[in-house]
Symmetry: C2
Subunit: 415 residues, 2 copies
């Protein structure tokens, strides 16, 4: 079955509306709050940061995902993370949800929350509630509303991140197929080294699917998408990925892990990978996207660990910035990943659009065309391939280069 | 018993000589080879990189430490790491050791080797052997010879690193005490995130001590010294720390883990910590030394893991560079360290010479004097303290800030 890429984001699926506003939480002259609303109840799934220090909205959302398992709306703010804010921070969540519940005429425990920004300060509840009221009155199902929402949640991101796909599933009435849509938005640029999931990501679908399967699909897809990117090795206190399904497509509800479920998973994988790669490529200060593919590893997890180790290495990242084919650094990062392998057996390549250079084989760094390597390392997207020659498992990780601008942005973040 | 800090390095202990020379391996106009020689056979101990990709000299040295357990000389070169060089790289080790054995009239398997520099290229054996011959003819036990050796092994280091101490032990003949000396040198600036030990470090002592106890002392001291520093999270392929003891002090040989052994360990700790902290403070591009002390942790290992996580965080390092008291980043780094704790119970402080600021307590970032924090973060050495309030264990880790110059140095390393 074909999965088609379509335009749009969180409003691509039927029954989802979005809004945004400039609530003046931290930034001036830009929108800094976003709302997503479904006109029908949604099954909800989520993955959250593994950081022991969890932001208040993470604690709030996790409770809803694990106990209520359903939701109608999401309210997100940028500028302040509502992390390390103690009991007051949790009270702020309750206040925000109450304001949204009143404005949208839904239960408070059907309101999911998200915050991103500086750790420490308390949210200004008056501005948040005013923003919630304004957004409730301006909800729209247009693509423009979805795009505006994706812009409103940006912090140091330089581009907004959206993605949507469509595919066909059997109709609920058994008469042919219906079109199902799945779309999302995400933000994330610094403090990105997801473990459970990454940054803020919101995905909506009109697919009818059992909540347990929705969660299972998300948990299956995240390890090879959101969890395979790294900007700086720092796993945030706020990482949240939410997936809401309102069933409005009218498909035969997915109630078992059969063919329909697998198609849904493939579509979800496409959206998650797209959003994840966009985050890696928009890493703070980044000028290039780096892809590390590890093939023929002995286990899937080892393939992931090796690939992530390379894209997380400061020395590899600085080398990409400098367009220096110093492939010893890649070997070094593979070597300290914590996975056992025979250094004499593996092979390492730089993969371009037209040709491939062998960096390392038979235990030795190879002689390669330095001019060609410089040319390939000057592309916007750099691809490395490592053949472990141990088994049949593979994984791909994405990262970015380490630049002066990363240091500049993070040396002066709060100001 | 008192441990006295004395001047000097690898030639501080009796019976040790050093030499250096400009062999023209990679750099122009500077010394790039060093030699240490003991006029009596030495018990030898060592710790080595845990990187799966091990440089040829690491493989060479590990065999000698584990099977021969004795040595007479060390030959080190800077510029080329002799890593990822396959069987030819190992042959280069054999050739270098043979040249040293001939020039010094000692067995080849009593020659330890060390290399640091670019991964991949083969060493120029003709220049190495010419260098070995030149150094064998210019060995000296002066402090100047030790200092020159410490300079010769530098790569991106901006300062040479030496340290020596002296202490008294009972004399072998039972008549009073004799003076024992322990001194060392190390190099390391980038690719520093030791696991087993770090970079190249060579420590010499005239103490008479059983080889098994020598190794035990080194293995006990390294986890809280060399393994507690991080510059960039990259564990090198070449990390080597060697400790040689020739017994020339004439002390009652240390043959059991009693009082003399404990004094020796304390002296070794002083030297190792000094050399380790010097490496952290001289991290590539660094402008400041960062110390993270974790107290009242439940286990020693958890204290170490938490402290290391903070000094390894890119965001914390960039914040130090920017002198920004963005303490949420420290909390975040503690939270993703992989250690479980109650975020509401811990307390975080910025510790200055004269006063201490509380950053975080009772689950909340505290209000503190920002001007005072800026002033304290402008010092050359920054100290953070985290009270876990869980138990009685503590650990300290050292790192440095992340600067434009780190990116510059590593974007253009091979050129």
């Amino acid at each position: 079955m074909k999965i088609e890429s379509i335009s749009g984001g969180v409003t691509a699926a039927a029954g989802f509306k979005a809004a945004s506003c400039a609530a003046g939480i931290k930034y001036r002259g830009r929108a800094d709050m976003a709302m997503i609303f479904s006109d029908a109840p949604c099954a909800v799934a989520g993955t959250f940061t593994t950081n022991v220090v969890k932001a208040a909205p993470v604690i709030w959302d996790r409770r809803i995902v694990q106990t209520v398992k359903a939701a109608r709306a999401v309210v997100v703010n940028a500028g302040i993370a509502n992390a390390a804010t103690g009991p007051d921070g949790l009270a702020m969540c309750a206040g925000t949800a109450a304001a949204a519940a009143e404005a949208l005429d839904i239960p408070a425990d059907s309101v999911l929350l998200g915050s991103t920004g500086v750790i420490g300060p308390q949210l200004p509840l008056d501005r948040i509630t005013a923003g919630v009221a304004a957004m409730a009155g301006s909800l729209s199902d247009t693509p423009e509303a979805g795009t505006a929402a994706s812009r409103a949640i940006m912090t140091t991101d330089t581009v907004n991140k959206e993605c949507a796909v469509a595919f066909d599933l059997p109709a609920a009435d058994g008469r042919g197929a219906v079109r199902v849509r799945l779309g999302g938005m995400s933000k994330g640029s610094g403090m990105i080294h997801p473990n459970m999931c990454t940054m803020l990501g919101y995905i909506t679908t009109d697919c009818a699917i059992d909540q347990a399967l929705l969660q299972r699909a998300l948990s299956e897809v995240v390890p090879d998408t959101f969890n395979m990117i790294s900007v700086d090795g720092d796993t945030s206190t706020n990482d949240t990925l939410l997936l809401m399904a309102n069933g409005r497509a009218g498909n035969r509800p997915i109630a078992e892990a059969g063919e329909d479920y697998r198609l849904f998973c493939r579509a979800l994988f496409e959206v998650c990978r797209d959003l994840a790669v966009k985050m890696a490529g928009d890493g703070e200060g980044a000028t290039r996207l780096v892809e590390m593919r590890v093939i023929n590893a002995d286990t899937k997890e080892n393939a992931r660990v090796l690939a992530r180790s390379v894209v997380s290495s400061s020395l590899v990242k600085a080398m990409i910035f400098g367009r220096d084919a110093n492939c010893g650094r890649i070997l070094c990062a593979l070597g300290y990943a914590g996975v056992d392998f025979d250094p004499a057996a593996i092979e390492l390549y730089l993969v371009g659009e037209k040709e491939t250079l062998c960096f390392y084989r038979d235990g030795c760094v190879q002689v390669f065309d330095e001019d060609k390597a410089l040319e390939m390392l000057s592309e916007k997207q750099i691809r490395f391939l490592c053949d472990m020659r141990m088994g049949g498992q593979e994984a791909t990780a994405w990262g970015c280069d380490l630049t002066y601008d990363y240091v500049k942005i993070n040396g002066d973040y709060r100001s």
